[in-house]
């Protein structure tokens, strides 16, 4: 633009020397054009705020979450055109923008593009709705802001880095046993125990008469100014790990990126439902899957724990797993054997014929683990597995099921 101003100055000088007023007019127009353009390129991007606000950072599959996008021009200079290209993870359905463009520079991203013309100090809030959310972990951002001057020329641009995340967990449904099925899932245990496990420290409580002096937490006593005793978790006899088989097609190598989407979603809903069922039964529940979850780790692993927070953690892990396997399922089961305490229950949850992994499951059984296989699909009998095989059904489908029928 300085070139334009120099040219305008030259024209003005020539016009004055030659006595040509028209040249002065042309010089004035040139200078005006350059000045106006410079105005927006220099000050356009200043004091502009772009924010996105999710109604909730966590949701259950099928929910609708609101998304508010706010742009605020916090200065007196109006912005004739400002655009924000916000990157969204693929899979999000924006009710107000059914067709979102693909992002060129990032894979699996789409662009939520908004343009505004803002007057001085104007703030605009646009309300969007993320409809029919599918299980997954979604990221919103970064946003790329572009500002154009009054002639439509690109004047300034910038990046809005803060991102928002949305975790959509699978919808757990109640687990229902068929009438006459008296065998509960896994191993039943007493919800409370008189015996505490000294390895499971869970906090402190006020000292009570009869407490052993060995249980007094002296450091906490000194800090709090009153005597407190250590508190331990009750000794637990039930640890359940759901080993999720992310492969959904029979006779397909684990590295092949083909999958049955409905079967995989059904697996996730079943895993979430079972986890809720076990946690309600006061068991320690963990989840393992041979899937990448956004980290270099090949196994998605959640150590067994009890408590209400564990269900949320299970949901988060299930939200992140994908249908592409990182290792064969048998290898995952072998990996589990090195991780689990003896006596834990391994629930092999699969959509395929579990007889394909019967050798490793039998070996786990011989190694002291309780093994149970649950196949998600039709309630056919699977003879010759060598271990109990149940079937789980989500009727009519994983989207609309109101219960998980175990037979």
């Amino acid at each position: 633009m300085s070139g334009w101003l120099a040219l305008a100055a030259v024209m003005a000088v020539v016009g004055a020397v030659a006595g040509a007023p028209g040249l002065l007019v042309v010089a004035g127009i040139t200078a005006g054009y350059a000045t106006l353009t410079r105005l927006w390129s220099r000050y356009g991007a200043r004091s502009v705020t772009y924010e996105r606000q999710l109604g909730s950072g966590r949701a259950v599959a099928g929910d609708t979450v609101t998304l508010d996008v706010t742009i605020w021009n916090r200065k007196p200079l109006p912005l004739p055109w400002i655009a924000a290209d916000d990157l969204l993870t693929e899979g999000l359905v924006v009710r107000e923008r059914p067709d979102l463009d693909h992002a060129d520079e990032r894979q699996h991203r789409r662009i939520l593009r908004n343009t505004w013309a803002l007057t001085w100090y104007e703030r605009v809030v646009r309300h969007f709705h993320l409809d029919d959310l599918r299980r997954g972990w979604y990221e919103l951002g970064p946003a790329h802001l572009r500002i154009r001057d009054v002639f439509g020329r690109d004047a300034a641009e910038g990046e809005v880095e803060p991102r928002a995340t949305l975790t959509v967990v699978p919808r757990p449904v109640p687990v229902r046993h068929l009438p006459g099925d008296r065998s509960p899932l896994g191993e039943r245990r007493a919800p409370r125990s008189l015996v505490a496990d000294p390895a499971l420290f869970s906090g402190v409580r006020p000292f009570q008469a009869g407490d052993s002096l060995r249980r007094v937490h002296w450091r906490a006593t000194a800090r709090l100014g009153s005597t407190v005793s250590r508190r331990f978790e009750p000794a637990r006899g039930r640890t359940v790990v759901i080993a999720l088989d992310v492969q959904t097609l029979e006779d397909v190598p684990h590295w092949e990126m083909s999958y049955d989407d409905d079967a995989f979603e059904g697996l996730c809903v079943t895993a979430a439902s079972l986890a809720r069922h076990y946690l309600g039964d006061a068991a320690l529940v963990g989840v393992a899957a041979a899937s990448f979850t956004g980290t270099p780790q090949r196994v998605a692993w959640l150590a067994p724990r009890a408590g209400t927070g564990q269900l949320a953690r299970v949901g988060e892990l299930l939200a992140r797993v994908g249908p592409v396997s990182s290792m064969p399922y048998a290898q995952l089961l072998a990996w589990l054997a090195r991780r689990l305490p003896a006596g834990a229950t391994v629930v092999a949850l699969t959509a395929r014929d579990p007889r394909g992994v019967s050798p490793i499951l039998r070996r786990l059984g011989r190694g002291g683990f309780a093994v149970e296989a649950i196949r998600v699909g039709p309630a056919d009998r699977i003879p010759g597995a060598g271990f109990p095989v149940r079937t789980a059904q989500l009727a009519p489908n994983w989207r609309e099921a109101d219960g998980l029928r175990i037979s």
């Binding site: 040219l7 024209m11 020539v14 016009g15 030659a18 006595g19 040509a20 007023p21 028209g22 040249l23 002065l24 007019v25 042309v26 010089a27 004035g28 127009i29 040139t30 005006g32 054009y33 106006l36 004091s47 605020w72 916090r74 109006p78 004739p80 055109w81 655009a83 107000e96 067709d99 463009d101 593009r113 343009t115 505004w116 013309a117 803002l118 007057t119 001085w120 100090y121 104007e122 703030r123 605009v124 809030v125 646009r126 309300h127 154009r148 009054v150 002639f151 439509g152 020329r153 097609l249 990126m257 083909s258 999958y259 049955d260 989407d261 409905d262 249908p323």
Partner: protein, 465 residues
Amino acid sequence: MVFGFPDPRELLRRAAERAPKGLGRHDGRSRLLPVLQALADGAWLAVAYAAAQAATGRAPIVGPLELALLAGIGMAWARRGRWLDDASDLAGAVILAILGGALTWFLDTDVRIALLAGDTDTAFATHLPGWIGAVAVLRGRTHASRDDDEDQQDRLLRFGIPALAIPWLGGHLAANGPLERAFVASAFISTLLFAASAFTALGLARLELVRRSSGDQPRSQRSWLLLVGGVALGVSLIGVPTAILLGVPVSALTAAVVGPLRVLVLSLLLLTTPLIVAIAALTSLLGPVLPRGFELPIIRLPNLRVDPTEVSSTPTIVFFAVLALLFLAELAAIGLYLWYRMRERRRAEAEELAGVEERSIVRPPEEPATPPPPPRRPRTTDPGTPAGAYIAALEILDRDERLRRAASETPASHLRRVAGVLAGPALARLAAGYQLDRYAGRQLTGRERRRAVSRLARIRQWARR
């Protein structure tokens, strides 16, 4: 539902379905854009034409509107939907260019007289710049594709504005006196018209480009249009006083302002004509029905010459009053129609954006003014003061790497490090005085000052050894 690698052809098909369908859209903006483009082209060529006329010693005959019309014809031919083969295109363009050039050339009275007299040599030698009309047609033909609108306007502004200097300079050098005044009047109006229409066309072209890439958003466009229109208006408003200052004839300016108004008034009168004719016909039909002796009054058309002695007859006054009422009624009808359209459009926009967008003017809260830092006491390096003496001692110690005080060291930590090397408490006392002065803000007594000087002298002495 089984998923695998997506078929590339399917991806392409989906992309094609999602592609914006803006090319076939016809709204007010898409109609206005080619008009403005033609105006910009015509206005630029009008400046060149005026300069060429000045060079031939004649006043300009053709203005920007005529050349814009020819550019528009060329554009319409280039964007036609029929006879799309190359031969038809070339033949049509050549024919239109020749016709346009000839028409512009023929506008000169001298040309027509010479042709009527059979003097073709004189006719062809007269009004040669008129053939710029052919250039206007060809220039309009370059706007064949709507996809290039934005590039074309950008180039036109980028190079067109500075390039205007050439015809302006040429015209001034070639003409003087009344001819120069005529040149200035024509070129000035064309320049202003060029600037206003080219800026607006560029804004519209870019807006159209954006709309096609991001979808239609009427509120954004309206603000944009207001801004672009504001710039165009600003150019015009600045142009008027500038013209007066530069000595451009007022008649040229008034012609530019009154011209479009005159066209508007004439159009309204033409629209009124059928009504007047209908009333006249109705009145003539009433004649035979009227009783004998009752004659309709004679209406006299107004005389444009002002004659104070002439008194207008009552029927004439009534006639023109009716005419004025009709005229006002037409204006009111047009205003009502525009208001209704605008209201409908606003309603549609409000419905479209209901619950989607909230706009508000919010001034950001004033940032709490940070209290100014307390004025710093001037740092003295005068070795006659305790602080200055300490700094001077540090400068002496800087010469030895072992004794140099690191930037991260406090005076106390520095002292601890060098205590084994330096003999005596001189530096420690100086450091204490420095800290009292700088950090504690204590005013040291005159005796301490004198002691500091003597301690510095001792350190100097030690350093010399």
